[in-house]
Symmetry: C2
Subunit: 232 residues, 2 copies
DNA sequence: GGAATAGTGTCTTTGAGACAATATCTA
DNA sequence: TAGATATTGTCTCAAAGACACTATTCC
């Protein structure tokens, strides 16, 4: 034991992001305890030294226990601490971003009975504590990294087309990218590889796509996004 | 009070960086307590809810009390937590980077009697805890931001020449930049402004510079680095 | 063949880098 | 005026964006 002073409460909070109608969505769950019981919030947990060995352990435990989600891509976002952020007093929250594909969220709901509130990041309801600020930071981070890393791939299924990847980048950054330009860059991205085989149906809205398109996947050896020098 | 579980120790650690012979240097101080008493370490302090209102308060307090340094530019770096990093048990350290000009460090030493160990970031001695990892992250951060923000200005005196700024960028990034190219970009950087007046002596090693050069300073309204889209 | 999307090629413009030329100071 | 650094201008090359063109599939 290292100090005689009172210690702040320490927790983690996870901004769970996925794609949905209209773009990037945060997955929220109703709080089960006071204060703000019943209100939709980020998924979090207190750090429990007896159970967790690392901070990421705490996050994975929270996701597993509260959301039925296992082993996803995590990125530390920042730490929010102070006397004001929680009405109960001084607290520290280490915030993380998690990116999952939509089907994982669907499965989790089916298997563990949870019901996510999936809200567009641009239309957040009022959130308790400083969770609105945390979500804003998460969106900012994802937006930035969408342009210079392979992070968007973590929002997509294992196999995805170039058009789908492009659509994610466009949705997240809000910029429309020229198809030719995108394709040139895309081919050169390390960390993404072609899968031999094509895909039917196309990615368009009408559903009745014509020419099938090449599928890609994240290179096996990289379970985290590859950093690159400005792509799009 | 929010949990019945034991809480981890929570502290902040500050990577205090400055320029010196050979480039970027970390300022370390000998620890005054066990474990590792006497060993050079980062400047840190336990979070004290009774004293501090925010995490930055804790950092500023540590810098003031232990290093005699006041009100510097701070940037949160990341949070390091887990069961292994401190032999005393589970702990969390929120790490910050602080950039100061050399003269501030000199003054602090003169006024408060502390003696910094100023080590080149490329030649660190063995550091206790996970401080080596924290320093590495800090250097990485500064290196990256040197190219797309006005962060290097925080390592320089209030007034500096273009050549001095360029030298910082080169020292930090390790790349040599063409003078003409640098100048074109530099002129366009918002957040830096000309001071009407020149400077004698030049910036060269021989000391006997010839033509004086224009001085610049950080624009008054910005006490933090301006983010830009890739400069150098 | 027509419709619709996938993928390629080309042209133009922009900007970075290399480097030459000029400017301004001190001694 | 010589020497040294500051500052500007010009040329070249490569990448980015716009956009036209070809390819492949389903109906």
């Amino acid at each position: 034991m290292a100090t005689d002073y009172e210690k702040p409460d320490t927790s983690v909070d996870c901004v769970l992001l996925t794609l949905g109608e209209g773009g990037l969505r945060v997955l929220l769950l109703p709080r089960d305890k006071e204060p703000f019981a019943g209100t939709a919030t980020l998924i979090g947990a207190y750090v429990r030294p007896q159970i967790d060995r690392t901070l990421e352990d705490t996050v994975q435990r929270a996701l597993r226990d509260k959301a039925g989600i296992d082993g996803v891509y995590l990125e530390q976002l920042g730490t929010f601490g102070g006397a004001e952020r929680d009405p109960r007093g001084w607290s520290i929250a280490v915030a993380y971003v998690a990116l999952i594909q939509t089907s994982i969220a669907d499965e989790a709901e089916r298997r563990s009975g949870v019901r996510f509130e999936r809200v567009l990041v641009g239309a957040l309801p009022p959130l308790p504590f400083d969770h609105a600020e945390i979500v804003a930071a998460a969106v900012e981070r994802v937006r930035a990294k969408a342009s210079y890393s392979t992070l968007p791939a973590f929002l997509l299924p294992e196999a995805f087309t170039l058009a789908e990847y492009k659509q994610v980048v466009e949705q997240v950054t809000g910029r429309i990218i020229d198809d030719g330009a995108f394709r040139k860059k895309f081919d050169a991205i390390p960390g993404l590889v072609k899968i031999e085989g094509a895909k039917k149906g196309g990615t368009n809205s009408s559903g009745t796509g014509k020419r099938p398109s090449q599928l890609y996947r994240i290179a096996a050896e990289s379970d985290r996004p590859r950093m690159l020098t400005r792509l799009f």
